[in-house]
């Protein structure tokens, strides 16, 4: 296989890992000030993702680094094109990251409340924007013959891309709520379940709407496999809801995660072999072959990834093993 195709697949895998993992910690972040009525409850909610969220975020940084290294033109067009959207995302991620660290550093309730809501906003904004970004990638954005984005911030917003954003947001909130049913105890599990039931139904609606709109807004369904993956996401999301109702939280979490994975696969499968779709002229779409680095660079990167990725998976897996138990509110000290 052509190494640039391999790297396209690897970038897809990195996004899958990122959405699956950071998806639930965005969800938990959004739910923290809503489900947590007392300071201890909020602390419990945050601690459920405490050891993981930073490592999960590195999946995004690695995806970004991999795009830069393997597809410099993709990186250049995407990041300069989605400029203000990325700024909003950065602002949110900055505030979210320090909020996790700073909230407990002062006992003042107003201080804690402020950081809790920054965790909320800092998780909500990127959760929404990633959906918008994915919808834009597959729908196409104004790109000229020189690989340059010629639209504005507003060209990224349309009913279709907003539906994409909302679908992504709801999937992530559901992912977070289901994660919590597995990681916290007592009354909080009930509250997480209630939220999951409500959000789960809405997520189905949003995802069905997104998939249906994709028929007219994108050319995703011209690739058979992508269509199967997209509708497959709807099916497993329905199954997740069904398992949730039956109280099988582990199954529900896994199935919803699979829905996130399949939606991501659908988008990248639909893109292939393009990395940026031009809405102005199909000729101006950027393919992975045009965007890619030299064969030598890809070879170096392939060796590096082959050595390091398995190690990363091992020790990240180990973290989840160490912290496999539910967060115990009686032992919040480290």
């Amino acid at each position: 296989m052509d190494l640039s195709v391999l790297w396209f697949i690897l970038v897809t895998v990195l996004f899958i890992g990122f959405f699956f993992l950071e998806g639930f910690d965005y969800g938990v972040g959004i739910l923290t000030p809503i489900l947590g009525k007392t300071d201890t409850e909020r602390r419990v909610l945050i601690n459920s993702i405490g050891p993981f969220w930073d490592g999960n975020e590195v999946w995004m940084l690695t995806a970004g680094g991999a795009i830069f290294a393997a597809f410099p033109h993709w990186y250049a067009t995407l990041f300069s094109g989605f400029y203000l959207a990325l700024f909003l995302m950065l602002a949110a991620l900055i505030l979210r990251g320090v909020a996790f660290e700073f909230r407990s550093k002062d006992n003042n309730p107003a201080w804690r409340n402020m950081w809790d809501w920054l965790i909320f906003a800092g998780s909500l904004v990127p959760a929404l924007l990633w959906g918008v970004a994915m919808a834009n990638l597959i729908r196409g954005v104004p790109i000229n013959g020189e690989m340059e984005y010629v639209g504005t911030f507003w060209s990224l917003l349309s009913p279709y891309t907003l539906v994409g954003g909302i679908a992504g947001l709801l999937l992530f909130i559901l992912h977070g709520a289901l994660f919590l049913t597995l990681k916290v105890e007592g009354e909080l599990v009930n509250r997480a379940r209630q939220v999951a039931l409500r959000v789960g139904a809405l997520a189905v609606l949003a995802l069905v709407l997104l998939v249906a709109l994709s028929y007219s807004q994108t050319d995703l369904f011209t690739r058979a496999g992508a269509g199967v993956a997209y509708w497959g996401a709807v099916v497993v999301l329905l199954l997740a809801n069904w398992k949730l109702r039956g109280g099988k939280y582990g199954w529900a979490f896994g199935l919803n995660g699979l829905a996130i994975v399949l939606s991501t696969v659908a988008v990248f499968w639909g893109l292939f072999p393009r990395v940026m779709v031009s809405s102005l002229n199909p000729q101006w779409s950027i393919t992975l072959y045009q965007a890619s680095s030299s064969p030598y660079t890809l070879k170096v990167m392939t060796i590096v990834a082959a050595v390091l990725v398995p190690v990363v998976l091992l020790y990240q897996g180990w973290t989840y093993w160490i912290f496999r138990q539910r967060v115990n509110p009686k032992h919040l000290e480290y």
Partner: protein, 461 residues
Amino acid sequence: MGELLLARWQFGITSAYHFLFVPLTLGLSILVAIMETLYVRTGNETYKRMTQFWGKLFLINFAMGVVTGIVMEFQFGMNWSGYSRFVGDIFGVPLAIEALAAFFIESTFLGIWIFGWDKLSKTLHAACIWLVAVATNLSAFWILVANSFMQNPTGYVLRNNRAEMVDFGALITNPYVWHQFPHTVLAGFATGAFFVMGISAWHLLRKNHTDFFQRSLRLGLAMGLISVLLVSGVGHLQTQYLAKTQPMKIAAAEALWETADPAPFTVVAAIDQERQTNRFEIQIPGLLSFLTHNSFKGEVKGLKDVQAEQEAKYGPGNYIPPVTPVFWSFRIMVAAGLWLILISLLTLYLVRAGRLEQRPWVLKALVWTIPIPYVANLSGWIVAEIGRQPWIVYGLQRVEEGVSPGVSAGAVLTTLLGFTLIYGALAVVDVYLLRKYATQGPVEAPPVKPQETAKEVSLWT
């Protein structure tokens, strides 16, 4: 202001701000790891409390470093897409490796370290902070590999309108990085060491937890003294190396307009960039020749001659960087370094004589020395980065060719204001928290397991 100038300001502000937190992380992570190792090996609870006290300050600082670091990865594409297209084939590689080989280790094992006190054996727990410390320093290596390509391109060929990698080995054995990496990392060690010394001195002045802070101060002193001596040694070698590879930067750092043999060292100068001369200067004869050639004779090229050489090589244009900031930053860096050497030697003498606590003015000086490594770090980077103008990649691409063509000045201004606002606000919070926890001192006894009080107790306090 045009898009280019705004994008440059944004890069300057966001990277300088990011680099306020990085050096402390480099040094303090190692000191905390040493403290925990001492705890594991001796079983002395004081070392555990030291690990937790300094670890808390480390975490506050680390969080700021992490979040401001994300901006760095994004803004090459956002503001510098022309640059990204031109060097992505090479520059992206160390960045991706940095994420894979360093960020994953740092973030994962720091998470385990914070939450794993009761879940891991003591040794394994200490191993986690060592992994964090090694990974942060590894991360510095990879990003400096990337930076060194911009300063001294190696292992590339110009093809398909861009620089393409042909030799990964040449990229990571670039002599530039093997000067810059030790210099930067050792400066980070010094930053961490003087941070620990300064805060310890503050408490010793007030006779708080004297045993605790005496031990801390001694650890900081050992690391600080070794680091500042080594960093100046490396700096000296680096200057000699730069005189060969980037003569323009050295000539600017010395405000040396005319080639000279023997070359004098200019202590102070009133620089007139317009008329390419110094209106006033105080010089020590022969010293610059000595610094670059280890001999009081030897030619050092002046700005005008290097300009002529570069014009012959790259075509007409102005290749002289802004001399005043480079000249003064260099002097500030060196002066800061000399101060750090002096104060650590003095402290060493007093500690060995057992008289440090009878010299409150030295303790006070140590407190006021906390910012000095920061000044040295930033001025060092000003020399390195302004001294490379007008190039974004030395000899290959000029700064104006690197900027994103599709991004408007208004968009850059918006994000510039946005980042400045957020960073300004966070600086206030960061300083408030560091001050609060530094002055509060360590917890008296190892934390008691909370039972009924659990509602008010949080994990981090």
